[in-house]
């Protein structure tokens, strides 16, 4: 089977799936919740905890309400895709694997200038940080490359390597297109704009102008309460989902401009509490199982 990833958005994704599948990764599906980044997928956050090996790749749709531009900006979207690869423990040849994946989608490192530029990653919401780079291709950031050092406030033992490809950017680059809506989605004439332009218009309007803020505040409060409820019942994965929900609702409230600077910090603190408590509860619940699989391991 030969693919030509330069021809379309979907061929590029399939080429990445092929490649990472051959490297032994599970090819997972997107998490079925609205979230700001692929890192929120439980396959990344929760699986970064614990000693067991974990290798997975998946596409995750990301929602950034404040980045909406009503379909009028060639680069900015309130809904876009990330391609995530998580490799635990980080293999010694992870950089080479990554560079081979670029070649697979048509980026020749002897023709294009590939660079690893310092960019450390930190998510106070998740109690997580890592060191790594943004990867540049001819000056464009195409991937975030991170070695997770902590997650949910716990040391990663072992460390996982996380690769996050910005799919639209990469595709625009490979296809030589200056406007995201002009991207070929498939090789039969359907563009990214055909699929998403109307969504961007309507969702930008909803995010910025329409969404019922009273209902959103209520949703936030409910997610917070439900997270506590799930924690009390010792079902931390369910609790984590509610933390993700609260985080997204908070982003919507931000887009509606109804959270003042002073309140902002307090809301972020509440989301952080939920996410951290969920990660902690998950780690605590899983530790006996992890210790059985890996005697002598401690949290």
């Amino acid at each position: 089977m030969t693919r030509n990833p330069a021809t379309s958005f979907q061929e590029m994704i399939l080429a990445l799936h092929d490649f990472w599948s051959r490297q032994g990764c599970l090819i997972l599906q997107p998490y079925d919740m609205r979230m700001g980044a692929g890192t929120f997928h439980t396959a990344t956050t929760l699986r970064a905890l614990g000693p067991e090996p974990w290798n997975a790749a998946f596409v995750q749709p990301c929602r950034r309400p404040t980045d909406g531009r009503y379909g009028e900006n060639p680069n900015r979207l309130q809904h876009y895709y990330q391609y995530q690869v998580i490799l635990k423990p980080s293999p010694p040849d992870i950089q080479d694997l990554y560079l081979r994946s670029l070649e697979v989608i048509g980026i020749d490192p002897l023709k294009h200038d590939i660079r690893f530029v310092e960019d450390d990653w930190e998510s106070p919401t998740l109690g997580a940080w890592g060191l790594g780079w943004e990867v540049w291709c001819d000056g464009m950031e195409v991937t975030q490359f991170t070695y997770f050092q902590q997650m949910g406030g716990f040391d990663c033992k072992p460390v996982a390597g996380e690769l996050t490809y910005g799919l639209e950017r990469l595709a625009m680059y490979i296809q030589g297109v200056d406007n995201v809506y002009d991207l070929a989605f498939n090789d039969r004439g359907v563009t990214y704009g055909d699929v998403y332009l109307e969504n961007e218009r309507q969702m930008s309007k909803w995010n910025f102008e329409v969404a019922d803020t009273a209902a959103l505040f209520e949703l936030f409060a409910r997610a917070e309460a439900e997270c506590r409820n799930a924690l009390a019942a010792d079902v931390p994965i369910a609790a984590y989902e509610q933390a993700v929900e609260a985080s997204h609702v908070f982003n919507l409230l931000q887009a509606r401009g109804v959270i003042s600077v002073q309140e902002r910090a307090s809301y972020m603190g509440r989301v952080r509490d939920l996410a951290r408590s969920s990660c902690e509860a998950y780690a605590a619940k899983m530790t006996p199982q992890w210790q059985q699989a890996c005697p002598g391991w401690t949290l």
Binding site: P92, P109, K111, D138, M140, C156, K157, P158, S260, Q262
Partner: protein, 727 residues
């Protein structure tokens, strides 16, 4: 003798950490060699994105055997003392030797450290260097990181080359076995390369598209960028920081020039330059007329087969998207006036104890207007000062400054001009953060000076009033910098005002005692570069003013310090200082402070007759100064009970002449004149010391002469507190 080569290979090291890493590598290597007793010259250290390398020349093949003896307790000492001694020297009790020392049997520990192969010393040193290496941030990685005890490095460590001469230094660090093989350029030469030794390391790597020496890469970038600019008929805008950063990001730097759409040149030049520099690490160019050109220079890390055409095109597109964003901000921000933007400042907290930025702006506006209307900043229109101050922080809420915080002020200036505000206002908005640190341009335009000074004054006064002071190395609110800026504005503009008055107006009068010495300390720092002595600043600052406070007119203070310094550094000045110290010492030794027969109140306070108190401490007590002087004046009116010696008489005459002169000169701020008046005392005081016996058996004579010395000391002290002058 052999040369040693060490290469520590890793995944990409952040560019900004490489300079410190070189120092650290050299330091740790020297530490290890010192500990092993190997003398080495300063090693050569190279850095790049994927490797740190060290070359040390002429290491001996073996370390010398060392015999060490340590003297211990005498025979018969308690067991515990003996055990401790053995432990300390790493010997057993059986190994101790007993020797005679001054007729007493004493235990000695003798240890022989045999010479070691340098190769073995290095093999042991390398893991120590890696373990103790201090990075600003380090990480764990890989399967070994299942334990938090696993090795840490800035990014995963991937290989080690360690060669002494041509021999591999055997050593293993975290599963990495040192060898002779390295790798070349990541893309041009990914396979292994065998290094022969320190002699061929640099050249072998060069052949594989790696320039090991960071300085050579920096030179290639600088000259390459100049040359591609010149080929396009342009001039590179030099940027050393960018050169170093690009040298830290590349192993085979290749500067390439591209062009962006000329229509972007509508956007302010600073914005374009910053977009190119900060986001993309590109250089920019100017045309022959010094105007920003629509060109950029990126530094690629490969020599592409197409000559870099695809790379330039890719970079051009990225820059175009960035510039489109910038242009969007530039257009968006101008849809509102600065006054409208300024309304947003009410939503930004300046500091939780100090209100919002809008509150601060209102205070600054009031102060700036006052500085102008009081004439403290001369030739300044109070209305313009207020207007500029009210708008000076408005750009903080614009999109552009949100994106590029470095452009605060600059953007406000552009926006002010775009909406047709007076140039003086636009300039003041643009420049009111200046001066930022020593060496930065100090504003002189009156409106700018008023706004900038008001801003610093408010910051200092409010933070001091809220007791948020800098401590040690911590200065989170940059108060030291604010103080330096304030001093620079006052001294450069020669603004005549006491800082007491400034603080009162800033609503921070209560901070006078804390802020005064703080400013004086900063003044010493500021003046150090100009070669002004800190002890002279102290000497003048301590000099009491008519109103009893310290000298707090900074311009006058500096004028006085400068006059003092030019005088004190002449032989004349040195002699006068010596005479002053001699007089003060005699007075101190004699416990002579109060004029004889007068000032009983002082005597009852215990003038150092017991030798326990410090008499000078008492004399220097500012409360006593006026009393002493009054008493001295009165006594001077009384006739001496004896005929003074000629040199005594001469000194009295000289003082009679010099005192009013010096006093008048100080009052007229003619400090050179005051120094000249003091200088007239130099010859008489020297002759007095040479020819007159102070400690005369006749108590009247002794008292009168001590009084005369006290008078001399006080006359000098009115010009400056000479006791604080060093040397």
């Amino acid at each position: 003798m052999s040369d040693f080569l060490l290469e520590l290979r890793s995944e990409e090291i952040p560019a900004r950490m490489q300079a410190v890493a070189r120092t650290e590598l050299a330091r740790l290597f020297r530490r290890e060699m010192d500990a092993a007793g190997i003398t080495v010259a300063e090693p050569l250290v190279y850095s790049g994105p994927r490797r740190l390398a060290l070359i040390a020349r002429d290491l001996p093949d073996r370390t010398e055997a060392v015999r060490e003896e340590a003297k211990g307790p005498p025979e018969g000492a308690p067991d515990s003392a003996l055990d401790g001694f053995c432990r300390k020297n790493g010997v057993t009790r059986e190994q101790l030797e007993l020797r005679e020392v001054k007729g007493r049997a004493t235990w000695f520990a003798v240890s022989e450290r045999p010479g070691r192969e340098t190769r073995d010393v290095l093999g042991a040193a390398i893991p120590n260097i890696i373990r103790d290496f201090s990075w600003p941030k380090s990480m764990r990685w890989g399967a070994a990181s299942i334990s938090t005890e696993s090795i840490r490095w800035v990014r995963p460590l991937s290989g080690l080359v360690a060669l002494l001469g041509e021999e591999i230094v055997p050593c293993t660090v975290a599963d990495i076995v040192a060898g002779a093989a390295t790798v070349g350029h990541r893309f041009h030469h990914p396979g292994p390369i065998t290094i022969g030794g320190a002699h061929d390391y640099v050249e072998k790597l060069r052949a594989c598209q790696v320039i090991v020496d960071h300085e050579e890469r920096a030179l290639l970038i600088r000259e390459g960028a100049r040359s591609v600019a010149a080929q396009a008929g342009l001039q590179l805008v030099e940027d050393d920081g960018l050169v170093t950063e690009n040298a830290g990001l590349t192993e085979w730097p290749t500067p390439l020039l591209g062009f962006f759409d000329e229509t972007f040149l509508d956007v302010p030049a600073e914005v374009i330059q910053l977009t190119a520099r900060v986001n993309q690490k590109y250089f920019v160019c100017e045309d022959a007329g010094g105007k920003l050109a629509s060109a950029f220079i990126c530094t690629a890390n490969i020599e592409a087969a197409d000559g870099g055409a695809a790379i330039v095109d890719g970079n051009r597109r990225v820059l175009a998207a960035r510039l489109a964003d910038a242009r969007f901000f530039w257009e968006q921000d101008r849809r509102k006036t600065l006054a409208q933007h300024a309304e947003g400042l009410a939503r930004i907290t300046f500091h939780e104890k100090l209100g919002t930025l809008a509150d601060k702006v209102e205070r600054v506006a009031k102060l700036a207007e006052w500085l102008a209307s009081e004439g403290i900043v001369p030739r300044c229109d109070p209305a313009l000062a207020r207007q500029a101050a009210e708008l000076c922080k408005a750009d903080l809420v614009t999109e552009m400054v949100g994106e590029f915080p470095e452009l605060q002020g600059v953007m406000g200036g552009y926006y002010a001009r775009a909406e047709g505000l007076p140039d003086a206002v636009a300039d003041a908005i643009r420049d009111h953060y200046k001066p930022v640190g020593q060496g930065d341009e100090v504003p002189t335009a009156p409106v700018t000076v008023a706004v900038s000074l008001a801003d610093k004054l408010d910051t200092l006064g409010r933070f001091f009033a809220a007791d948020l002071l800098p401590t040690g190395s911590k200065d989170p609110f940059a108060l030291r910098r604010a103080a330096l800026a304030l001093l620079a504005l006052v001294t450069t503009g020669r603004l005549r005002v006491s800082y007491r008055r400034l603080l009162e107006e800033a609503g921070a009068a209560a901070t006078y005692d804390a802020l005064g010495p703080f400013l004086i300390d900063r003044l010493k720092v500021q003046q150090r570069e100009a070669g002004v002595r800190h002890d002279l600043i102290d000497a003048v600052f301590a000099c009491e003013k008519e109103d009893g406070g310290n000298e707090d007119d900074l311009v006058r203070l500096l004028a006085r310090v400068n006059a003092l310094q030019s005088y004190i550094e002449t032989p004349d000045g040195q002699n006068l200082l010596a005479a002053y110290k001699r007089a003060a010492n005699i007075l101190k030794k004699e416990g002579w402070s109060a004029p004889s027969g007068k000032g009983e109140a002082l005597n009852t306070q215990g003038i150092a007759r017991t030798g326990e108190e410090d008499p000078l401490a008492l004399v220097d007590d500012p409360d006593l100064g006026p009393a002493l002087r009054a008493a001295a004046r009165e006594r001077r009116a009384n006739r001496l009970s004896y005929t003074p010696e000629p040199d005594e008489d001469a000194l009295i005459d000289a003082l009679d002449a010099a005192e009013p002169k010096a006093e008048a000169a100080v009052a007229a701020e003619d400090f050179e004149g005051a120094m000249q008046a003091l200088a007239s005392l130099r010859a008489p005081i020297d002759r007095f010391f040479d020819n007159v016996t102070v400690n005369d058996p006749d108590q009247d004579k002794r008292a009168a002469r001590l009084d005369l010395l006290a008078r001399f000391r006080d006359a000098v002290a009115k010009v400056a507190d000479f006791s604080r002058i060093e040397g």
